[in-house]
């Protein structure tokens, strides 16, 4: 990879693509966007089914438009920044973001914090929509709620696409394709099923995305600081494996801690009785 090149906002030919980066970039962008789109869909479905589809869809489409403009604007703005500086800053932000996701996914897998429940979120949002008074014509509540949730979840997607796309030369294409594919799949499933996608293994996806983003962040910070990676670009796969093993070991330790505490408490209760 050319260390001094700026991160151009352009589409490369498939043959020119660095697949050691492009493959994990596409996967990370797709899975992260899938999780966020599923969460947004739950609220949009609740709004649409209670208050009508027209304003819920207009609100969602308006937010998607703003987000697309944000991606294009940020992409252009970052195009002039030297790649090492960009990699350091984006890598650090990606690490803060990715390690936070991974930590949460580890704690959810270990049963320390509750798993996100799409059915419960749908019921809660639908009830809150019902409690608000109905209106004729333009429904500002439906529009604003759909707009807000799509903006909220979409901001995370924008950050992931921009961070992945700006981190290396020729990565805008896989990063954008991953996010667009996730958006289209979730929209299609939402239209087909008309109910929240509760069967999507959200925490497993977040676990994988956390691992991928942490690996990217670590690699780009190293590139920005001009570290020498053994195996060069392929060491990103080693980092993915390393974070995966560390995360799985941490889940096992957290689970065994919890089990140990529970069995100690049970023994103490039995002795005191």
């Amino acid at each position: 990879m050319n260390r001094y090149h700026v991160a151009e906002f352009s589409w490369p030919h498939l043959n020119d693509m660095n697949w050691a980066h492009a493959g994990p970039s596409l996967l990370a962008s797709f899975l992260a966007s899938l999780v966020e789109c599923v969460e947004a869909l739950t609220v949009v479905l609740a709004v649409g089914s209670v208050r009508g589809w027209k304003n819920a869809l207009i609100g969602s489409a308006a937010a998607v438009g703003v987000l697309l403009g944000l991606i294009a604007g940020l992409g252009r703005a970052l195009a002039g920044v030297p790649l090492p500086t960009l990699q350091l800053v984006v890598g650090a932000l990606l690490l803060l973001f990715g390690l936070r996701w991974l930590r949460k996914a580890i704690l959810r897998s270990a049963g320390q914090i509750p798993v996100h429940d799409e059915e419960a979120a749908f019921t809660k949002n639908a009830a809150s929509m019902r409690s608000l008074t109905g209106v004729r014509g333009f429904d500002r509540v439906a529009f604003a709620t759909a707009f807000q949730i799509v903006m909220l979840e979409g901001t995370e997607v924008v950050f992931i696409v921009v961070a992945i796309g700006a981190g290396g030369v020729g990565l805008w294409l896989p990063a954008s394709l991953g996010a667009i594919a996730a958006l289209l799949i979730v929209i299609a499933l939402g239209f087909a099923l008309h109910r929240p996608l509760a069967n999507v293994p959200e925490n497993k996806l977040k676990f994988i995305v956390g691992v991928l983003l942490s690996a990217f962040g670590t690699f780009w910070v190293g590139e920005g600081a001009r570290f020498i990676w053994p195996g060069r670009d392929w060491s990103i796969l080693g980092l993915v494996l390393g974070y995966l093993l560390v995360a799985m070991a941490t889940v096992a330790i957290c689970r065994s801690n919890a089990k140990g505490k529970r069995s100690t408490a049970a023994t103490q209760t039995a002795v005191s009785q």
Partner: protein, 70 residues
């Protein structure tokens, strides 16, 4: 100004939910990026040291949280 505060809080929340976890990550990045190049170690170890520190911070933070919960 209220909406500005909301946007700032949401964007900040993307990167930080446990303050000490975020501070430790940034401190480790600062140490490795600015200090390691001045040490006359084998340059090939720098990437591994960066990863090992971040992995240790992740592990310690998750285990500490789990212990507190139990």
């Amino acid at each position: 100004m209220n909406w500005m505060r909301t946007i700032f809080r949401e964007v900040f929340g993307l990167f930080v939910d446990d303050g000490s976890f975020a501070v430790l990550i940034l401190a480790w990045l600062g140490l490795t990026v600015f200090l390691l190049p001045h040490l006359a170690w084998v340059p090939r170890w720098r990437g591994f040291i960066l990863f090992a520190g971040l992995a240790a911070i992740l592990m310690a933070s998750a285990i500490r949280y789990a212990r507190k919960q139990n």
